[in-house]
């Protein structure tokens, strides 16, 4: 495997976002090479989640949403004419900030829900369930209660279930919005290991407020900032090592070292 020559798997070009008339993101140009983990960091409200949602066309589900720019998946604009958002979302999976398992379904059904919802045929359901749960490092905790409702799990377990649910779809790109914000240190560590393993099979974009986590899991980091009511922009983007240890911009330096504002 040669990570250095990887083709750019996902790429945003001049992404601008509006909610109603409010411009919340300006000119975001980022490159997500395949098999790399990219961390998006920045203060609350600067538009990280919003940007993440533009990457798999979840953004357009908000009624007031506006957008300009393009997102290229292997060179193809996912906002291009005739592209079905449903196909985009199958290839580019998402784990949300808040765990959102389906309450009417059992643990097992939750894992298979993506396949059923997207109308895919599958035969070895039990294998898919086990592999996905293992990859999300929750298999041991739930293997004896696969038939129980998913909402009987703890918050952290629900989040890992949601990760497993996304993994069952075998996406090419996985977008994760603060996947560890509700987890204890042990689960967090396991998720981080999972991310590392997953990056061998897919491209990962992760939003995190945890600076150590960004440094531990990511290859490259983008620092977002929205100043005084202006739209958010990418202030700095580069290898994680550079962004954290040799930031070019003074604001990045302040943020990653924890003295901001």
């Amino acid at each position: 495997m040669n990570l250095s020559t990887a083709t750019s798997h996902l790429r945003s070009e001049d992404i601008n976002v509006w909610f109603g008339e409010r411009h919340v993101l300006a000119d975001v140009n980022l490159d997500f090479p395949s098999n790399q983990v990219t961390a998006l960091i920045g203060p609350s409200g600067c538009g990280k989640s919003t940007f993440l949602r533009t990457l798999n066309r979840m953004h357009e589900l908000i009624p007031s949403a506006g957008l300009a720019g393009s997102v290229l998946l292997d060179g193809q604009d996912i906002y291009g004419d005739g592209v079905n958002p449903v196909d985009v979302r199958i290839k580019i999976g998402m784990v949300f900030q808040k765990p959102n398992p389906f309450p009417t379904m059992s643990i097992k059904e939750n894992i298979l829900s993506g396949l059923k919802l997207s109308g895919r045929k599958f035969v070895n359901g039990d294998d898919i369930v086990e592999t996905s749960l293992r990859r999300a490092s929750i298999w041991n905790e739930v293997k004896d209660r696969l038939g129980e409702p998913a909402i009987s799990l703890s918050g952290g377990q629900q989040q890992r279930l949601c990760i497993a649910r996304s993994l069952a779809m075998e996406p090419e790109v996985l977008l994760m919005d603060e996947p560890c914000s509700a987890l204890d240190p042990g689960s967090t560590r396991r998720i981080e290991e999972t991310i590392e393993e997953l990056s061998e099979a897919m491209t990962i974009v992760i939003v995190t407020h945890n600076m150590q986590q960004a440094q531990r899991v990511s290859h490259q980091t983008a620092f977002f900032l929205a100043e005084d009511g202006n739209p958010g922009t990418v202030v700095e983007f580069g290898s994680t090592d550079d962004v954290f240890n040799r930031p070019v911009d003074a604001r990045t330096n302040d943020y990653v070292n924890g003295h901001f504002g």
Partner: protein, 359 residues
């Protein structure tokens, strides 16, 4: 060695439940004395009971409670006291009024309850025939047929409207919602008049069960649509996002995630809709012909329903027919009670099936 913490029995009283003797005595006095005093005054001055309740008892009770509240808890107690007395007084009043209606229906209707009243129809029964003969079996079946058909038509319509109102982003949702809302204020007799003038006067149809069913649709539709809309709206947006994020087309998202999550709410909507029309009288008087025999065919011939059976017996005015009317009232009440209980139990259901036994 680590010491194991022992389980203790739960104490009788939690700290916030502690009362001392002085409080108990004062609160008991404030609850008992005002009513005794009020009774004494009303009797002494021979004041009318209803006036005594509002003009004598209520002020005395408020004064007494406020005084005790002030003494025990200062300003906070005073305000709590006023609120407490008002809520207790008026909710008791409402409960008493409603129960008295129920009790009188039960008292008068119970005398009519016998097997023949439920199982027989009213052929060869006049308004003076002995109560041991004839019944409202045919009316129950007729109601079942007519309301059943109404439900069959209305539920898809109502659920459809609710889906449109919650799932679409169309700009005309506001108009549709207002229309549905104003429909729920439609006097039922107007609905009957409409069918009467549109189908019966014009000779399109006779007065048959179907015309009755049609007249009930506008009455049932708003209830079903609105309760159903609430149920769909309660499904968290997170779940929709989750499904769409997994690559579900909207229709699968709706059918496999939203609908199951709203299932109990939708069933409640249907039951409440049925309860809404089961006792409707006016539209059926206009659109359905009375029958004494059993008829289950809503497409042909006269057919009887519970509310029209009740109304006609009441209008005959003989002792026996009025007794039958009370009996019918009790039966309708019972049916509605059953429907509401069903709605409650279904609505209170856990959303997920019980966990299966582990292997």
């Amino acid at each position: 060695m680590a010491q194991v913490t022992q389980a203790l029995p739960r104490p009788k009283q939690a700290p916030w439940q502690r009362r001392n003797l002085k409080n108990i005595v004062l609160i008991t006095l404030a609850s008992v004395l005002p009513s005794l005093l009020a009774i004494a005054i009303t009797v002494a001055f021979s004041i009318d009971g209803a006036i005594g309740l509002v003009a004598v008892f209520l002020p005395i009770q408020i004064l007494a409670t406020v005084a005790v509240g002030q003494y025990l808890y200062k300003k906070r107690g005073r305000q709590d006291a006023v609120l407490m007395i008002f809520t207790i007084f008026f909710s008791t009043l409402v409960v008493v009024l409603l129960t008295s209606v129920l009790v009188s229906v039960f008292q008068r209707g119970a005398a009519m309850m016998r097997l023949s009243f439920i199982s027989q129809n009213a052929t060869y029964i006049s308004s003076t025939t002995s109560l041991d003969y004839g019944g409202l079996g045919h009316a129950m079946l007729g109601s079942l047929a007519i309301v059943g058909f109404t439900t069959l038509v209305t539920v898809p319509l109502g659920v459809g409207v609710a889906i449109y109102l919650t799932e679409s982003r169309s700009g005309s949702r506001g108009i549709v919602r207002s229309l549905i809302q104003s429909m729920s204020g439609l006097p039922s007799v107007v609905s009957g008049m409409f069918i009467y003038s549109a189908l019966i006067v014009t000779g399109v149809s006779h007065q048959i069960g179907l015309t009755g069913s049609l007249a009930l649709i506008p009455l049932m539709l708003p209830t079903v649509a609105r309760v159903c809309e609430e149920a769909l709206r309660l499904v968290p947006g997170d779940l929709r996002s989750a499904a769409l994020g997994l690559g579900a087309p909207s229709y699968r998202m709706f059918l496999q995630v939203v609908l199951p999550a709203a299932r109990t709410g939708i069933i409640t909507a249907v039951l409440l809709g049925v309860a809404r029309v089961i006792g409707e009288t006016a539209p059926l008087l206009l659109t359905v012909n009375a029958a004494a025999n059993t008829n289950l065919n809503i497409f042909d011939g006269p057919i009887e329903t519970l509310p029209t059976f009740l109304f006609r017996n009441l209008s005959y005015g003989t002792d026996n027919s009025i007794q039958r009317a009370w009996g019918a009232a009790l039966v309708v009440l019972f049916l509605v009670l059953i429907i509401f209980t069903l709605a409650r139990t279904v609505g209170g259901d856990k959303k997920v099936a019980k966990p299966k036994k582990r292997k």
